[in-house]
């Protein structure tokens, strides 16, 4: 019966299947043609559009497949036929699997093979992509299609879901007086899509079961909108609660135990403000000890509390107003032992004006992540072309402006999210400063699903400025001998530290010239 329904749907939908298959192969062809530097720009734009068309086309085909034998309504012919509901569901799922994921898998395998990746890596990446898209995209779309009769109704439902979730998130921002969601621009950003995916998967499974078993549309709609209303829930959670979950997921919690952060007045005031001076900014001297060699510490968030002599809290808030990865804490790369640094803390102007001359007690709660080196590799700076573990197939070239070495890498699966890159000359031992590219992802499972099974990673490494203002140790004359050093980092431990400074006068550490 399953095969019979499958063939019936095929006879109805093969033109749509053909179009989606063409889009999927066009997607793979575009990304293949773009190469590691993703040029020209026009082709990149086209490829990005086609990548979204793949998802749109898949959504349309899934919806059409389900609605061939719609579950909503009373006039569909199949309802009065001796069709087993279980067989119908299996036939629909099989159809989606074969017509959406068959071409997707083949296109991904073809792309990976054409790029010269080993078959095992290519198959693993393609299967992972298919599995995750099936779970977090296909099934929710399938469930919505099972609750609607037409493509327009399904599209309107998806828009309504998006609108309700957006309203929920906006409400969260209002509740936090305009502050962004707690995990924004942090390695814990994965929690929101992971929560949404889990919610969507659970709701979809329940809706599909209810609809195909009982055609209980009212109950299924309650589940749908219940899940939609729950979706913004995480944006109302606190950073501390989320970070405590993240700590439980640490790969090697013991590695962070030796790390100590202390107030280090001996370091003195910062000789040069590391950022433009601000009336409300303080550059706090700190000593970070116990960091292992070739490790890196990133402050995910830090909250400061200023307490008066009588024990009352005078101010409490984040140490920075910026949104960004580790914005308020310098990233440490290389070396071992201890690090002395100035942490920039920004207070609201009115708070700073009132408290700057007072002696207060400062308490800082840090949420930190220790990274360790996952891979260290090099590639020639000029016209390098090689396969590098953790980075994939990489190439280098001087960019069009002539002031950067452009590095472009293509890799099966997920790209590295925390990398440090430097230009070095092995002949004379000279080395330019490391450039960190670190937008970490602390997700325990981070599949790469868009735009295809191959991920693309790129960076520009400066060796001169167009105005010739900066002097680099490795300059243009050494490019022929130079190489690009690549270090990728992975999170080892998420941990917290509580720093107490019993007495401090903010004005003593002001970031004033």
């Amino acid at each position: 019966m399953i095969w019979r329904i499958f063939r019936k749907d095929w006879s109805q939908l093969w033109p749509l299947v053909a179009i989606l298959t063409a889009i999927q192969f066009a997607n793979a062809a575009f990304w293949f043609a773009l190469g590691p530097f993703e040029e020209p720009r026009g082709l990149l734009l086209a490829a990005q559009i086609v990548a979204y068309l793949v998802l749109l086309g898949a959504a349309v085909l899934i919806t059409a497949t389900v609605q061939q034998d719609a579950l909503i309504g009373v006039s569909q012919d199949w309802l009065i036929r001796p069709v087993r509901r279980g067989a119908l569901l299996c036939a629909k799922l099989l159809f989606v699997l074969i017509t959406v994921h068959g071409p997707m898998l083949v296109a991904d395998l073809a792309h990976g093979t054409a790029q010269g990746f080993p078959a095992r890596d290519t198959i693993a990446a393609a299967l992972t992509r298919c599995a995750f898209i099936a779970a977090i995209f296909d099934l929710p779309v399938f469930a919505i299609a099972a609750l609607t009769r037409t493509l327009v109704q399904a599209a309107a439902t998806m828009l309504a879901i998006w609108f309700v979730v957006a309203i929920g998130i906006a409400a969260g921002i209002l509740v936090r007086s305009g502050a962004p969601p707690p995990f924004a621009a942090s390695g814990m950003q994965w929690m929101t899509p992971a929560f949404w995916s889990a919610l969507a998967l659970c709701a979809a499974a329940m809706i599909i079961r209810l609809q195909y078993r009982h055609r209980a549309a009212s109950r299924a709609r309650v589940i749908l909108w219940g899940a939609v209303l729950l979706a913004p829930l995480l944006s109302f959670s606190t950073w501390a609660a989320a970070f405590s979950v993240q700590r439980l997921l640490s790969a090697d919690p013991a590695s962070a135990q030796p790390i100590v952060i202390s107030f280090d007045p001996g370091l003195g005031r910062a000789p040069i403000a590391p950022a433009p001076a601000s009336a409300g900014a303080v550059l706090l001297p700190l000593r970070v000890a116990g960091v292992a060699a070739d490790a890196m510490v990133m402050s995910d968030r830090a909250f400061i509390r200023l307490v008066g002599r009588d024990g009352t809290t005078l101010y409490s808030g984040r140490t920075t107003v910026n949104i960004g990865y580790g914005d308020d804490f310098p990233v440490r790369t290389g070396g071992a032992g201890e690090l002395r640094l100035h942490q920039r803390i920004t207070f609201p102007d009115r708070v700073y004006k009132v408290l700057r001359a007072q002696t207060v007690r400062a308490e800082i709660d840090y949420s930190l992540t220790l990274f360790r080196v996952a891979a260290v590799n090099t590639i020639p700076a000029l016209n390098g072309d090689g396969r590098i573990p953790a980075f994939g197939w990489c190439r280098t070239a001087v960019d069009a402006d002539g002031d950067d070495i452009a590095l472009g890498c293509t890799k099966t699966g997920t790209p590295p999210t925390c990398v440090s890159i430097a230009l070095e000359n092995p002949r004379n031992g000279r080395r330019n400063p490391q450039t960190p590219y670190c937008e970490p992802d602390y997700a325990p499972l981070s599949p790469h699903i868009h735009p295809d099974a191959l991920s693309h990673f790129g960076a520009d490494i400066k060796w001169r400025t167009l105005q010739q203002l900066a002097k680099y140790a490795v300059d243009g004359s050494q490019l022929a001998d130079a190489r690009v050093s690549l270090r990728s980092y992975e999170p080892a431990a998420h941990f917290t530290r509580h720093l107490v400074i019993p007495a401090i006068r903010l004005a003593d550490w002001a970031a004033e010239p």
Binding site: R4, S11, S75, D77, I80, R81, P82, V83
Partner: protein, 300 residues
Amino acid sequence: MIVHLDNISKKYGRFDALRGLSLRVPAGSVFALFGANGAGKTTTIKMLMNLIEPTAGDATVLGVNTRALSPKELAQIGYVSENQVMPGRMSVAAYIHYLRPYYPTWDRALESQLLGKLRLPPERRIKDLSHGMRMKMALACALPFRPRVLVLDEPLSGLDPLVRDEFMEALTLQAGETTVLISSHELAEIEAITTHVAFLDRGTLLFQETKADLKARVREVQVTLDGAAHIPAMAPPQWLGISAAGNILSFVDIQYSECDLAARIAALLGSVRHIEAKPVALRSVYTTLARAVRDEEVPK
């Protein structure tokens, strides 16, 4: 009973589509369901097919609760509705080919006979068929497996006379071996094959009986009086559609009894010259009753 409804109710929000409806359809009968638009005929039929669930009460078809109708029972039930949506891009032949394996009792010879009689173009896509062709298509998909029950919901609506004839001819191919439940306003066409009738009004059953009993108790009566005819002020409630013209008084007696009609008329109208009581066609029964129900004068 092959179809049995027991105190069925169906609510759509605050609207009561069915209110405590009970029906019994005997095996082998051709059971016609009458009623004005909105009386609850289609709701009743959709509930029997488990397309909608009753709010209260139980219904059984082939001895199985309609809420639990399984492929086994559905393989023995044919259904034709004016609103039936079939896969539009499939051809007539392809869809019949698709359906065939679902029914263990599918009769290829009967299928060929039906397709010939109904003049369906096998290669034409279903979406390109006219309304009449689609109804014939639905019938062609409902009969070849020789269903034990055939449920027809307004099958003749919107069909031209020629197509109606073809439809009825195809239907009569199986008369006698199938229990038919039919809801239709086209009473003239179905009268010949109907054996039982039920009349619904605003979700309740007004009556259910055999066609023979109904036709025996309903008569169109013309009374020729000596003087001018007037509509009597105290006419019996079972006299419906009373009209007076010249010296002739006409009405439909829904509790006709040959033995006491003359006496009742004489008692009410006095001297009577002639009384003529004629059998009434099903269509006239329906229109008289429907009009009376609309004007709320029918005795319950």
